[in-house]
Symmetry: C2
Subunit: 152 residues, 2 copies
């Protein structure tokens, strides 16, 4: 039947998609393992760059619970890459602000990682790069769906 065929195609695509996800996790591990700033720390520090990030907001954006964000923030603070300040409007809250060193660290971390990936992308054909570029927004959409659906 038509619906079953459609379902099968969808399931097959889902299977391939999952395989790509699995590989991505592996690639991320490799990519980050030799860097001075871990992925978790880079993510948190990036949000501190805006200057008005609070711990809870960082946790939400990173997709982790608040204590996990606190943990990364403490590490970054000890490394001198950001500072925690009292929020003038709400003394329960803590504002997280990157230091100049933190800003430099983010720039370096991003640049190195981007150059590394760009090196790989450069070996592809233009058609392949186009295929990737076309799919990225859809990936984003999928990821957001999954994110919202899994929200407690």
């Amino acid at each position: 039947m038509n619906t079953n065929q459609a379902d099968d195609a969808l399931l097959a695509l889902a299977q391939s998609f999952r395989e790509a996800l699995r590989q991505s996790v592996y690639v991320m591990r490799r990519l980050d393992s030799e860097e001075p700033l871990s992925a978790a720390q880079l993510g948190a520090l990036k949000m501190a760059l805006d200057g008005d990030a609070r711990v809870g907001g960082i946790a939400r954006n990173l997709g982790v619970k608040v204590p996990s964000a606190t943990e990364q923030i403490i590490k970054l603070e000890r490394a001198g890459l950001l500072q925690r300040e009292a929020d003038p409007d709400d003394s329960r809250a803590v504002r997280v602000v990157a230091t100049p060193e933190g800003r430099v660290a983010v720039e370096n971390a991003d640049r190195r990682r981007n150059e590394y990936i760009a090196g790989i992308l450069g070996t592809l054909s233009q058609a392949e790069r186009d295929a990737v570029a076309a799919a990225l927004p859809v990936f984003d959409k999928i990821n957001n769906s999954l994110q919202n659906q899994a929200r407690n």
Copy 2:
């Protein structure tokens, strides 16, 4: 200059690609967190299904070191999902074989995860699904490049 423009485009694509990778890691965590079989265990168990998998081969396929594979295998063995047997050809080696329960567990785990992803994919337009399907082989190629390049 032309090369600089090309480089810039490549770097921009790399940046978006990295963002997608980051999200993928997050999505995988959500996807696996409510499942009885973890991603690491499902991966190892799948290879045991073929029947002729050895610990080193599983580690290589999972992209982890041998002790990490051993760890997952021991957990799976304790759960009754696979068995370790002496390799008749090489007594240093251990052959890892899934039990019937293990086979069922893989089928269930795969089916549930696939259905979950398929549910999301079903909300996309056909054009979007085509874009994903077109990009997956390229992702695979990229991931393999990164994998080989990062090999020690």
